[in-house]
């Protein structure tokens, strides 16, 4: 018998009603993926676990504000997580990770350490579109930081990003 997909919308609704069991179910379903993303962006496990913890506290407190007409519940959860992580990166900077840098060198990702093991992602994009997108998503870098890293004008980076975003959207449609 096939396992039914996790119902994020119903789970958030239950959280809004005070259902601690389903809140735990959401945690068990999603926390490992959330932690993986936070560790990639923040590079430190302790800071990443703190971000996941704080996000789940916010999920519980704000579940009643989620409106399924605005989008998927899973996207709503990640919007909270990524907003917090990005703010933290802006506040404190992003620590570098020597191990990641070594891997990056091996994969020829121009020293962009957070992309070390993700060169295969977004295979439908070419490198010039993929790299800025991955630098933004996994490393939390701004347009200006990416432009500086890739030694290109901001407008050029933005044009490439938008081409990549359009392709991602087309792929998802």
């Amino acid at each position: 018998m096939a396992v039914p997909p996790f119902d994020y919308e119903a789970t958030l609704h239950a959280c809004a009603q005070g259902d601690q069991d389903l809140f735990q179910a959401l945690y068990r379903q999603e926390a490992p993926r959330m932690l993986a993303l936070c560790m990639k962006m923040l590079t430190q496990r302790e800071a990443a676990e703190d971000a996941v913890r704080d996000t789940f506290v916010l999920i519980w407190k704000n579940a009643g504000n989620y409106d399924r007409a605005t989008g998927t519940a899973r996207a709503w959860v990640y919007s909270i997580l990524r907003y917090r992580v990005l703010n933290q990166i802006r506040r404190t900077g992003r620590p570098t990770n020597a191990v990641d840098d070594t891997l990056a060198a091996q994969h020829h990702t121009d020293g962009v350490s957070c992309l070390a093991v993700h060169v295969q992602n977004l295979a439908h994009l070419d490198d010039s579109q993929r790299l800025p997108l991955l630098m933004a998503f996994y490393c939390g870098q701004t347009l200006e930081q990416i432009a500086e890293r890739l030694v290109m004008p901001v407008d050029e980076i933005r044009a490439r990003l938008r081409t990549g975003l359009d392709a991602m959207q087309g792929q998802a449609a």
Partner: protein, 265 residues
């Protein structure tokens, strides 16, 4: 009206969602999000598209105490951590000393005695001199909601007295550390490392301000205490501070006989 795919607003919101923008353009998107409900829909659309990138990462299981910390911060029931290296010993000991043995009944007697004293004896004494509120916290092991592990009380000098009610075995390479936090300061503050089976006292100066509902918890840490200044190990015992207001009995004719209860908060 929805935001058209590929429009300037569509891309700008995508860039905002990715965290790419500087202060000026971020402010512009914040205005959009506040004024146009479709901007929120567009932001979540992009967030949903970006999930593809999250799902390409290898999931990483959080440390067991992360869920406990969340539950403690929200006032939820704390989940018992199933850690074979630590909990079987601890629980086996608690079990054998409570439901499994005479100590359970002795402990039940102690609890009943406390109830009796709270509801009967103290109000009688209060006729002469109404006592100040009693601050007490019963700490329990996660999943052991019927078993008091420690009883904390705050005396008239604002010192915290800690009385163990169960015996636990702690590995030689570990320590038990006490923490406290409340809604205003959710980040746990260490109150020190304690011997697990001995009564102890935290002086008022170290204890700091205590408010009703404040959480006290003991975690299992490496020898000497957490190396990070924050709890890193499983919660052994946790409980909230409550205030018991004890009112005097009315004894004379015509006195109101209704206000003779001890009210917990």
């Amino acid at each position: 009206m929805s935001i058209e795919r590929g429009s300037e607003h569509d891309f700008l919101i995508a860039e905002y969602t990715l965290g790419l923008l500087g202060a000026r353009e971020t402010a512009r998107v914040h205005t959009l999000l506040a004024d146009d409900s479709q901007a929120v829909v567009t932001a979540l659309k992009w967030e949903n598209i970006f999930l593809e990138l999250t799902d390409q990462l290898e999931p990483v299981d959080p440390a067991p105490h992360v869920l406990q910390r969340i539950q403690a911060m929200l006032g939820h029931e704390i989940t018992l951590i199933k850690r074979p290296s630590v909990w079987p010993k601890v629980l086996k000991k608690i079990w054998s000393l409570t439901l499994g043995g005479i100590w359970f009944w002795r402990l039940a007697s102690v609890v009943l005695a406390i109830v009796a004293v709270t509801y009967a004896l103290k109000p009688n004494l209060a006729v002469i001199n109404a006592p100040p509120p009693t601050w007490v916290a019963i700490l329990q092991a996660p999943g052991q909601t019927s078993t008091p592990g420690w009883v904390f009380t705050i005396d008239e000098h604002h010192d915290l007295t800690m009385e163990p009610k169960v015996h636990i075995d702690v590995p030689a390479n570990a320590s038990v550390q006490l923490w406290t936090h409340d809604k205003q300061t959710p980040q746990p503050r260490s109150l020190g490392v304690f011997k697990p089976n001995q009564a102890a006292r935290v002086p008022a100066a170290s204890l700091g301000t205590v408010v009703p509902g404040q959480i006290f918890e003991m975690t299992l840490e490496q020898a000497g205490g957490s190396p990070t200044g924050k709890p890193t190990g499983p919660i052994l015992f946790i409980g909230r501070m409550v205030v018991l207001h004890v009112k005097p009995w009315k004894t004379g004719p015509g006195d109101d006989a209704s206000d003779k209860q001890a009210n917990g908060q």
